[in-house]
């Protein structure tokens, strides 16, 4: 424990604070807030009731104002802690508020109205987790079907991505042919074209192929990624050509060379691409939204958009389901982050 503390509080200045120590601390703590703030707020808010979400100023943790049922009033009333003119404190329920004056009653004496300045009262709040944000979508909303669609799209797209991209990378790294560099540059150049530019022609193609409202229409346009080809090709370039020569001498067919020599040796790069692909496909929103218009085909990300209607956005459900959809990606990152960092270091990509 003391070693941990020593590590964390290590400073460059021996006896005082070197200016880099201050910059480091400010930078890292600032970074921590910027990176984790939204995520923590998301998780905290996903447990808030709609009323708590609309509250200003917002809070990180889900608080609710306690209510009490008072005789003579139909609805439960909010409880406030009030400082009375004589300085004593008392818990009262608010009946109504007029301007800066609040009319309140003591729960045990419902008939006696007390007028209190709103500056003199603070709400009685307790932390309360609105777990119904999670449980209700599972019963009302077709979560399981959306989850299945998302899993199907993610897994299938990732598997096909790995196969298609590794084949392209194999050809581009290990075969000498005219125009090889040009082909590679062409593939990389497509990185410059954003989805929004090719959306319409892509839609026409998918529609012409009869893949509209079909999960394959979501999967197929995404499987050939220039990033994937690039990562794998760069990695395959490091595999010595002598291995392939040796395999040729060993009577291996080109397919066997690819399948039994190149693919196993490319495993680290394949792992990186698999992680990327899972995250990309899982988080895809725009393209599935375009291709899928039947509700039962929605992926999770598209399904979530059901909650933001034209007139009414059910933020509490959106937030809760966002947390649920984040879980697989977070798990992938936690368990495979070693591969991601080595892979990124190896390819110079981000």
């Amino acid at each position: 424990m003391s070693r941990l503390a020593e590590f964390i509080f290590r400073r460059r200045g021996r006896n005082g604070w070197h200016w880099t120590d201050i910059v480091t601390w400010v930078w890292l703590i600032g970074g921590l807030f910027i990176m984790f703030g939204p995520a923590v707020w998301l998780v905290g808010s996903s447990f808030k009731s709609p009323a708590a979400l609309a509250e200003f100023p917002p809070t990180i943790m889900p608080y609710v104002t306690q209510k009490a049922t008072v005789e003579g009033y139909d609805k439960p009333l909010d409880l406030y802690e009030v400082t009375l003119p004589d300085g004593s404190k008392k818990v009262l329920a608010e009946v109504r508020r007029i301007g800066i004056v609040s009319q309140m009653v003591a729960p045990e004496k419902p008939t006696e109205i007390v007028k209190v300045n709103i500056a003199e009262r603070t709400p009685v709040r307790t932390m309360s987790f609105a777990t119904s944000n999670y449980s209700e979508p599972f019963t009302h909303f077709d979560f399981v079907r959306y989850l299945w669609n998302s899993v199907f799209v993610t897994v299938t797209a990732t598997v096909i991505t790995l196969i298609v991209n590794s084949m392209a990378a194999f050809a581009l790294s290990k075969y000498e042919f005219r125009g090889r560099t040009f082909a590679m540059l062409l593939i990389l150049a497509t990185l410059m074209v954003p989805l929004s530019v090719i959306m319409v022609p892509l839609y026409s193609i998918v529609s012409a192929l009869g893949l509209f409202n079909n999960l394959w229409g979501v999967i197929l346009p995404t499987v050939a990624t220039p990033t994937g080809v690039f990562i794998l090709r760069q990695y395959m370039l490091t595999i010595p050509d002598e291995l392939i020569d040796a395999a040729r001498m060993d009577k291996a067919s080109e397919w066997q060379i690819y399948w039994r020599i190149i693919l196993p040796l490319t495993a680290p790069a394949l792992a990186v691409l698999a992680i990327f692909s899972v995250v990309w496909r899982w988080n895809d929103f725009l393209w599935p939204l375009i291709v899928l218009s039947r509700k039962e085909l929605y992926t999770l990300q598209v399904g979530l958009s059901i909650y933001s209607g034209e007139l009414n956005v059910q933020w509490h459900f959106i937030l809760a389901m966002t947390v649920v959809t984040m879980i697989p990606v977070v798990l992938v990152f936690i368990f495979l982050q070693r591969f991601i960092t080595t892979g990124i270091a190896g390819t110079g990509l981000k």
């Binding site: 291995l243 020569d245 040796a246 395999a247 001498m249 060993d250 009577k251 067919s253 066997q256």
Partner: protein
Amino acid sequence: MGHIKLTNVTKSFGAVDVLHGINLDIKDGELVVFVGPSGCGKSTLLRMIAGLEKPTGGELAIDGKVVNDVPAADRGLAMVFQSYALYPHMSVRQNLAFGLENTRMPKTEIAERIGEAARMLEIEPYLERRPGQLSGGQRQRVAIGRAIVRRPVAFLLDEPLSNLDAELRGSTRAELAALHARLSATMIYVTHDQVEAMTLADRIVVLRAGRIEQIGTPLELYNKPANRFVAGFIGSPHMNFLEGTLEAAGTGSAVATLKGGHRLQVPIADAAAAAGSPITLGVRPQHITLDTGESGIPAKIRLVEALGSETVLHADVAGQKILVVAPGQHDLAPGSEIRLSLAAAPIHLFNDKGLRLERAV
């Protein structure tokens, strides 16, 4: 089986001609070494025989059958690579089995062949290990084993010892020679190390800049180098060359004047060269003796390397560098003047084109 014949084989990479008209006849069971400086095309020639490169021209035949268009896999050859090229993700056993599985050989026969090769090469204890867990020498054996289990028509070895340390290289060299004797298979061995070539070869092919300079047994090359290049390449330390001019030729011998004015008798066949033409004398460092008298060639010592059993002297003869390996130990200091005698030396003579001049019998 294992008769390889190359007729006028050429190879170009784009506009660069790497090999110019190679003619070579390798007999069955022969161990032929391709030797030459780096970039001479010896590896390309080997890869062409293997089928990994296509010849640009000429004809390549194995056992009388032209194989120019036969893929590497179907030529029945096995290759040992410089980097060994063992499949890193497979165990030693899988490495050995890979080539056999691809020919759909029955499992029992594969196991049998692997067992036999493993026994022969003493790699049985490592069969389940991955190449990464083996030492350099062990990997070398596995690489050779992978070639042996194939029972090839001929073995092609591309600088197989260059990644081993000096001691291991010596012992592995001896094992390779023993292996060749036992398998009595055709072997083509590529190296840039002339010691390996001398010790292993039945015949040596000396290559330079894509051309064969000379083909012959090790001693033929040592004793009768066809030109200056071969003379300088074969033998360690390399041969000394002294420039000079041929004086009037007599019968069976002539007088040459070295740069610096020293005159000496050289044995030369009649009419091998005209009087007055420039010639080069080649003499091996081991054949030069230190002359205690006044008649020897005057030289000035630049550096003395005392190795105990012998002393290597770096000296200058009228501005030309000369290397002398004198047996025993000599108390000589850099800067001192000595006299060298070529009386006992077999002198090689080369004309101004670097070609060998026939000596008088």
